[in-house]
Amino acid sequence: MTENELRAAFARHEALTPPAGPVRAAIDRAVVVRRRRRQRFGAAGVALAVLGALGVGIPQLAPRPDPQDATTVAGPSTGLPTGALNLLVLGLDTRSGAAAPAADSVMIVHLPADRSRPYLISLPRDLEVEIPGFRRDKLNAAFAYGAGREHPDRSKGYDLTRRVVAELIGVPVDAGVVLTFPALRKVTDVLGGVEVCLPQQVRSVHTRRVFPAGCQHLDGPASMDLLRQRRGLPDGGQDRDRNAQRLVAGLVRQAGEKGVLTDPVQISRLLAAVGPDLTVAGASVPDLLRVVPELASVEPVGLSLPVVDDVPRLRADPRAAPAFLDALREDRLDRWAAANPDGVNRLR
């Protein structure tokens, strides 16, 4: 009878089973390695901050695809870009090494044509979007789809996310920055820490550290810890995005006070510290920073795309989002912010 022969075959091959002891030890070793890696890269939320530091400024651009620009792009000095600029900042969560990384922080830095001040616009990572060539999925998955599983390519991940975001907001993205977790820590430490003002207490589920409500000075590791916190916040990931904006605002302020943003020597020191944890698409960092001196104020305004819950994902709010996106497209976010004070995230 085949069943009995099967049982017998299985029983006979039990002898092949390797001893459990060495396997157990190998598991424990691999866990240590993976925990360390997770701590280094893992956090989501990530390094938006750098953006902050660089961020303020960021602009100068990826050549836009219009033919009339094509000639000037090649020229040695094209002058400063004019008009409104939109910069895409992605914070990578490079969990576990094996899977392709997801972009868990997606932020647009909008610089209005009048260069009055930067606007930070968070797009929630759980937002459901159409990913060209793939399927509908969460916004943070676009990076993983684009980068590919086998040998993740960050520039391809960035590119697919850029297309999704440009489609979503209806304006082209001029340049972009991809940050990994260590970048935040290093920038914060190079700047000598950062002051962050929280509207409510945050308790770290990772280190049990408590960040009290109010303003506080954080070093690199502490600001990293803060950015990882999502669980336990009333609005989850969206509250984390707001804290990321607060951190960015603090870093920008700090960098502005130290004169880092306009001092080429200090900028290059900062970049040397951040090194390969930073990927810039469409422009070099010094180019990105050339717009900084044009800004009347580096104090950013924190905004978020209005969304509604559509468990387990989020959708753009059909009532509020169109007006918000129109304001972004038409470069009048200042008026939108004035008319919608509840939609403005308090950053200090």
Binding site: T2, E14, D28
Partner: protein
């Protein structure tokens, strides 16, 4: 239950199960290691399951079914037909060849089908639990088992006749 308790009591059984699934001790080690690393990293979630053991078995089974790396090579190159030069003189030798043949037939089954057989005839689990582990309907489990058995019987007849 802590991860340590779980590993103390279940690791050996999981290794045996992995050997039956993969047919190869090294692959079984890799599979168990990869799965248990994830179990340890996410222990709180695993411990919340109604039956942590079944949850882990499901993780391990899915990992194996999805695991593409090297599988084709291993199956085709290392688990090919029994060596033709095997001496077939005595009854004893003949019967051990038969035994190995069952093992290599198992290796040619699709992974999901083999997993069904292992869960049914090695782990002796009821159909409902097998369905839960494989994430399919009970009817699918039954038809999968009978199809796998039919394949094995056919192969067996072909060789013996």
């Amino acid at each position: 239950m802590t991860y340590e308790d779980f590993a103390d009591s279940r690791l050996a059984a999981l290794l045996r199960y992995a050997v039956m699934l993969t047919g190869d001790p090294h692959q079984a080690e890799d599979l168990v290691q990869e799965t248990m690393v994830r179990v340890q990293l996410h222990w709180r979630r695993v411990a919340r399951a109604d039956s942590p053991e079944r949850y882990v078995r499901r993780m391990l089974t899915n990992q194996h079914i999805d695991w593409r790396r090297g599988s084709w090579m291993r199956r085709v190159l290392l688990r090919a037909e029994p060596d033709e030069s095997t001496p077939v003189g005595t009854d004893h030798a003949q019967s051990s060849v038969d035994r190995d043949e069952i093992w290599s037939w198992l290796a040619r089954l699709p992974r999901r089908q083999r997993a069904t057989l292992v869960l049914r005839y090695y782990e002796d689990l009821p159909d409902a639990e097998i369905a839960d582990i494989l994430g399919c309907a009970v009817g699918t489990v039954r038809s999968s088992i009978s199809r796998a058995l039919a394949t094995l019987r056919n192969e067996y007849v072909e060789v013996c006749s």
